[in-house]
Amino acid sequence: MSSYVSLPIFASTLRERYRLEEPRCRSCGTLNVPARMACIECGRGDFDWEKLTGRGRVFTYTVIARGGAPTEFDEQQIMSGSLVVAIVELEEGAKVVAQLTDCDPEEVRVGSPLKAVFRKLYDQEGVVRYGYKFVMDEERE
């Protein structure tokens, strides 16, 4: 099973994936993550893009055993075994789903401080897909 994201769709989200910039609604001030055409709170469509700090905490997480992830992660799972996916509550209040990297599943706790890093997500159709993941923020342990 694959959770295929086409290259044009991927390219249209670079700002979010590469720089963690997200739109804040001009009318009601809600941070919309991921970006949408109309505000999730008030339905209007005017936004100011904001660069997020990349700091957050584990809201909840799950460990996906070898073979359990979509096919684009096959190579990663061969190399690393299980992978950790978390819902991260960002300092700005919004939540994102992302992989945790450079950590053993046993050390992850709800509430662990996290920091966004730029990593390889997967390699598909001969194209490397980069984006953010999170690591344990050792400066806030």
């Binding site: 700002r15 720089r19 190579e75 061969i78 190399m79 890093v117």
Partner: protein, 337 residues
């Protein structure tokens, strides 16, 4: 105000392999002076390491990412041979597309060349520029050349600033080499025919002596020496030939391995994190010839190193891995196609 380094940043992957593991596995070790090496995880490469080093430099910089006029990126092991790796880095660092991006490679010398080019860009156009050197050189795990290869990244913001670490002099040498550290187009692994011609020592000595003569510098006026170090022992050999005290040498190779184009720039960062203002740093890199440079340490580098995580802290936070993990995470065991 002078043009110089106003901020620096470093990145070293967390994974560490004690080289004793290599000795145990292969029954020998080609680089006994290297104790441990850093290596990228399955989701790291010179692009991701370069972005992280660049982000640390920008967090410490008086100039914002949007003010950068250029990024010079050096690597010998980027994921793409065609399609600029540096464009990915630029997109990750800044939302501005009005920026010149230049990619350099060809030898470990590329790292210092990127720094020099960024300085020359900034001095010519009075605009800040960034130099990033990020590398994870790779050879076949069964070759002795592979034993000492590590990974890391160094980034510098160059601009006109109060207390910048300034470039004093440059001397460059170019020579033709045969059979020494090369990789043909389309090949994955470095090769070295090990003809032991020692072009390295000859070129480095020539460049440093030329530099010192041209700028009228004596060794006693040099506080720190950063020299090419593929094996953890080369700088001491060169220092002996120069008549320099080994205490002045700075190299991360014994702790994180040969980081290719990032090696000498990381050595420069070790100097920037240690010296007092006004001290002279001699930095020389090698690759079919040599570039020797001298820098005068400025207050801006002291301010820069006090913000965020120090190089020493980054170095200490490694995680020891087994040789099996190394082979897996480095991608040596992935079945292609």
């Amino acid at each position: 105000m002078a043009t110089g380094i106003v901020a620096h940043g470093a990145y070293v992957p967390k994974n560490r392999l004690p080289l004793e593991e290599v000795r145990r596995f292969w029954g020998g070790l080609s680089t006994p002076a290297i104790k441990e090496k850093a290596f990228p995880s399955y989701d790291e490469d010179p692009v991701t390491m370069g972005v992280e080093a660049g982000r640390q430099a920008l967090e410490r910089s008086p100039f914002g990412a949007e003010e950068l006029g250029a990024i010079f990126f050096a690597t010998t092991s980027g994921p793409y041979e065609e399609k600029p790796n540096v464009s990915t880095i630029a997109s990750a660092l800044t939302g501005s597309s009005r920026i010149r991006v230049v990619e350099m490679g060809g030898s470990p010398r590329a790292g210092l060349q990127a720094l020099l080019s960024a300085w020359e860009f900034s001095a010519s156009w009075s605009k800040p520029a960034m130099a990033i050197a990020s590398d994870a050189p790779i050879a076949h795990p069964a070759s002795s050349l592979e034993h000492g290869l590590g990974a890391g990244a160094a980034a510098f913001v160059i601009g006109e600033g109060e207390g910048a670490t300034t470039l004093e002099a440059v001397e460059s040498i170019s020579v033709e080499t045969f059979g020494e550290r090369f990789r043909r187009r389309g090949q994955s692994y470095l090769q070295d025919l090990e003809l032991r011609q020692d072009e390295l020592t000859g070129s480095v000595l020539k460049a440093i002596e030329g530099l010192m003569e041209g700028a009228r510098i004596s060794l006693s006026q040099v506080e720190a020496l950063v020299l090419p170090d593929p094996d953890g022992g080369t700088p001491a050999r060169i220092a002996k030939a120069l008549g320099a005290s080994p205490e002045k040498l700075l190299s991360l190779t014994p702790r994180i391995g040969d980081t290719g184009a990032a090696s000498v720039p990381l050595g420069l960062i070790a100097a920037l994190e240690k010296l007092e203002a006004g001290k002279r740093i001699l930095v020389c890199s090698y690759g079919a010839g040599a570039d020797a440079t001298s820098w005068i340490m400025g207050e801006a580098s002291i301010v820069s190193r006090q913000r965020g995580r120090s190089l020493e802290d980054i170095l200490e936070r490694g995680r020891i891995r087994s040789y099996g993990d190394y082979l897996k995470l480095r991608g040596f065991l992935v079945q292609k196609g």
